[in-house]
């Protein structure tokens, strides 16, 4: 088993350093998929279905062809001709300028046979609701999880509470939309894709086009975010490849914002009916939940209840429900924010009923030793003791409150391979078929390699984002760092050993005596020999030393704990909630770079605030079209609504590298909801917590 050296001995890891591609990005030199261009390239666009449920009777493209500049058209994009949501791909076009595309899309004459549709979770559950799939009920069979014995658990309980919570659909909304630039090089297909998985896309596309793997290459140098929505091969890529073949020209097809909203995934909504029992001493004895969620025409709307807390007797029944909307895809901590919003409020309700402080109640029911420490650290920093015991006790219409919530995450990551080349002039190149979603992977790779070789970050040239490089998995589930960092360390170790052997021979010492430090290679002990890195590399007999390495045990682990504290201000006249402050504690094992780590926590929290207060997919119930598929009317939290966020990284370097991208987004909405209750004395049980819901809740309380 490998081990990292102790943190005190590290020169780079665990510290703060800027991204190696930061300057490239802020100056606009970094080329994203959106920026890829090739001589003679055409622009592609997809025509999406106008209706949420219809049979495509006929698509007439003759008018499209009559438009000058149109070079390729596809009308057989849809496999069955039976569409189930607005935006579902039915035809496509490629033309010489993007200006032509808008016109071209309007010239398709599509004859639809409209069918009944259903849009909303609770309506789709009714017997009389139109079926999304004719031969299947909209309500899927339950998935049941059972631990212990809930009947007995509730029998032991002295207080039992029941409540219902709802969360909305949230869209991933990466700044760079989904899309590809593709071209054919003979019978080989080169794909620039905005993706979280260059190898996965290569395998997927090869399968979809029935091509051998070696004829498909996928490249992604820089990526404008994905949040889970870019893990899979895209239909748009297949369409682009077909258009490119038809026109015999490169094609760039990036989705416009509307199709991006409709077709590339979302976080499913949820309806959670919860029953929880506890003893007077604060021990939770039983938990029962019946939950529903819609992933549109897809599955995967699970709600990960009871999420964090340790409860001996649990029963959870979940039903996915089909609706006529685009399928869900993984979204930063799938299933968790929904669960956390419900669970953290349930916890607070129970604490109140038992007359316990919410923090004490959690400490009592949280078996994670790390989080036990984190709760105390966070509470101290946040000033939890200043929380008002009586809700809504501020005088005047503007009221403040405090709340908290916990986070958790499971998977580790493994399997990455990498290679390294060291040249006789001292240059170092690392190759790894992972990709950098904006999380900083490129920088982390340079950091690990530099740390191992005793060099500086800028001396390492990192090559990633290409399926020609050694295989690494998809960047999802917070697995990238724990999978990639050990592989890079292993590869660099091997390089060091090889170079060490050469130097040992040169100096006639044992290979163990060779040390790599601060840009020098040193023979420790008696010999007192030393060469600069460059001089040492000059001893290579061939021009280049190439080594291959892979993930190895002992350098990474899984399992994350964390907690968040929120303070809010609620204007009880207008109903507006303002988040004033968030304090987050996150454990992260061995931190690769403090800046990118803090950035992940900040980003997760900002996305959590956005989920709590703003984002919502809205449909026109008459037509089934989404009415806000754009950045003006689909509200995403802005900088002015983003509060002060304090991130406390709880180092546990002995655990090795752990991924932490997802957990920080989990507890934010629940912590805010609890703070709102503390401020105004009523609970908002559905997301987003908009001003009118706040006023309605206050009015209901009065009535």
């Amino acid at each position: 088993m490998s081990k990292w050296k102790p943190l005190e001995k590290m020169k780079i890891l665990g510290k703060k350093y800027p991204r190696i591609d930061g300057a490239e990005k802020v100056t606009g030199r970094a080329r994203y998929t959106y920026d890829q261009f090739k001589e003679g390239m055409l622009y592609g666009a997809i025509l999406g279905s106008r209706y949420p449920a219809a049979k495509i009777v006929k698509i007439d493209d003759s008018m499209v062809w009559s438009l000058p500049g149109v070079k390729a058209v596809l009308t057989d994009v849809h496999p069955t001709g039976r569409v189930r949501y607005v935006g579902e791909e039915i035809a496509a076009v490629a033309a010489t300028t993007p200006e032509i595309l808008g016109e071209a899309l309007r010239l398709f004459r599509v004859e639809y046979e409209k069918l009944p549709f259903t849009l909303y979770l609770e309506e789709a559950m009714k017997d009389e609701a139109p079926r999304v799939f004719p031969r299947r009920s909209n309500v899927n069979k339950p998935r049941i999880r059972e631990e212990g014995n809930v009947e007995q658990g509730f029998a032991q309980a002295e207080v039992v509470l029941e409540d219902t919570f709802r969360t909305q659909v949230q869209i991933q909304t990466p700044l760079e939309s989904h899309g590809s630039m593709v071209y054919w090089d003979g019978d080989e297909l080169i794909i620039y894709d905005s993706t979280q998985a260059v190898h996965g896309v290569r395998e997927g596309i090869a399968k979809m086009l029935d091509m051998p793997l070696h004829k498909v290459r996928v490249i992604c140098h820089h990526m404008g975010g994905g949040f889970g929505s870019k893990l899979q091969p895209g239909i748009y890529t297949v369409i682009a490849a077909r258009l490119a073949k038809q026109a015999n020209a490169p094609v760039r097809l990036m989705l416009d914002r509307q199709l991006e909203f409709l077709t590339t995934g979302n976080r499913p909504d949820s309806l959670s009916r919860i029953k929880m029992g506890a003893k007077r001493d604060g021990t939770i004895t039983a938990f029962f939940a019946k939950t529903y969620g819609t992933a549109g025409i897809g599955n995967g709307a699970g709600v990960r209840l009871p999420i964090v807390y340790s409860i001996p007797n649990v029963r959870h029944e979940h039903h996915d429900v089909y609706t006529n909307a685009g399928a869900a895809r993984p979204f930063r901590a799938p299933g968790c924010p929904q669960a956390s919003f419900a669970m953290e409020q349930m916890m607070d309700e129970m604490a109140e009923k038992l007359g316990m402080d919410p923090l004490q109640f959690r400490l009592k029911n949280d078996s994670n030793p790390t989080r036990q420490k984190e709760w105390m650290i966070g509470a101290e920093r946040f000033g939890w003791h200043r929380r008002k015991v009586t809700p809504a006790s501020d005088p005047g219409p503007i009221k403040r409150g405090m709340g908290l919530g916990a986070s958790i995450w499971w998977p580790g990551g493994r399997g990455t391979k990498a290679s390294m080349k060291i040249y006789s002039d001292g240059s170092v190149e690392v190759f790894c078929g992972t990709q950098d979603l904006g999380t900083g992977t490129r920088t982390h790779i340079a950091a690990v390699a530099a740390e191992e070789l005793g060099l500086e970050l800028k001396q390492i040239k990192v090559h990633i984002g290409d399926s020609n490089y050694p295989r690494s998995g998809a960047s999802g589930g917070s697995t990238t760092s724990p999978s990639v960092a050990p592989a890079i360390k292993n590869t660099a170790e091997k390089a060091r050993q090889e170079l060490g052997k050469i130097l040992a021979e040169h100096w006639n010492v044992s290979p163990e005596a060779i040390i790599f430090s601060d840009g020098y290679v040193i023979a420790s002990g008696e010999a007192k020999q030393r060469l600069s890195w460059k001089e040492a590399c000059g001893l290579l007999e061939t021009d280049v030393l190439e080594v291959h390495g892979e993930w190895s045990e002992g350098l990474s682990s899984s399992g994350v704990a964390g907690c968040q504290f929120a303070e809010v201000e609620v204007d009880t006249d207008t109903g507006k909630i303002r988040v004033l402050r968030i304090v987050a504690v996150a454990d992260c094992g061995l931190i690769l770079d403090r800046l990118t780590t803090e950035s992940q926590v900040n980003g997760g929290i900002i996305q959590g605030i956005s989920y709590a207060l703003f984002e919502e997919r809205l449909f026109d119930p008459q037509t089934g079209a989404m009415v806000n598929p754009n950045f003006e009317t689909y509200k995403i939290v802005g900088t002015m609504e983003t509060p002060e966020i304090e991130v406390i990284l709880f180092d546990e370097p002995e655990r090795g590298v752990i991924g932490i991208g997802e957990p920080p987004t989990i507890p934010t909405s629940g912590a805010i909801a609890n703070a709102v209750y503390n401020a105004i004395g009523v609970r908002i049980k559905s997301l987003p917590m908009t001003p009118d819901k706040v006023l309605q809740a206050l009015a209901n309380q009065k009535a």
């Binding site: 993007p98 200006e99 595309l101 808008g102 016109e103 416009d256 006249d573 207008t574 109903g575 507006k576 703003f614 809205l618 009415v627 806000n628 009317t633 509200k635 939290v637 802005g638 002015m640 609504e641 908009t690 001003p691 009118d692 006023l695």
Partner: protein, 291 residues
Amino acid sequence: MKPPPFDYFAPQTLEEVLQLLEQYGDDAKVLAGGQSLIPTMNFRLAQPAVLIDLNGIRELADIQESDEEITVGAMTRQRMLEKSVIIREKTPLIFETIPHIAHVQIRNRGTVGGNLAHADPASELPAVMVTLNATFKLQSLKSERWVSASDFFQGMYMTALQPEEILTEVRIPVQAVTGLYGFEEVARRHGDYALAGVSVLVHLDENQNCEDVRITYFSVGEAPVPAHNAVQFLTGQPLEDEIISEAAELAANNDIDPHDDIHASAKYRRHLAKILTIRALQKAKNRNKPN
């Protein structure tokens, strides 16, 4: 999305602009800051065959003052208003309003004329212009006329402008030093169009009773909405808490006609109008500090 093809003119004089408008009329649109027009063209909600760019007409972009009024050229950027000492000192109501319009980046391009001519019912400036009793100069090749702000705004995105006319100048009476004012709005996020908002301007007589009251709402109707009932009620009364609340209630129930949309329900807008009226009038009242 990209707009459909159009012809583009970049005239250098007002005369040329007016000639082009005379020639193309309904087929043409003038381009000011482009912050509203270009998005609507990209979404193909507007498809003008001809675009006449006003950005070359220097004389339309300045702010001048005389004793009684301030003159603002139509091509004055919103950001220039925000930074103008004249505006800050002579019409503090406008000064307080500007930061609520979009974001700095948009205000750098967006113009006063474009904002008013666009006549978005959720826009702040139109309501403020009505409150301040501003008048607008509308020019065509053949005519020139002055229209009061309250006559200019006729409905959602509808104004008194004829196809061959443009707005060239806005005249705003200088706010009397004794004028008490207030501006309030609620938007979901900073820079968003308001869910509801109000601007008020009040003059008190020597007995501290309201003698000239102006209250104008935005985002609660098709155009800026004056609060006739509330104004009538307030006139002759002192600005006291109970009276303010009653006036606000009256305005919210009788003066405005908000509707539901995806951002807020009509009911919520009515409620906001009441709250914001109280807050704006309280603000106005609190300025009435003897120096």
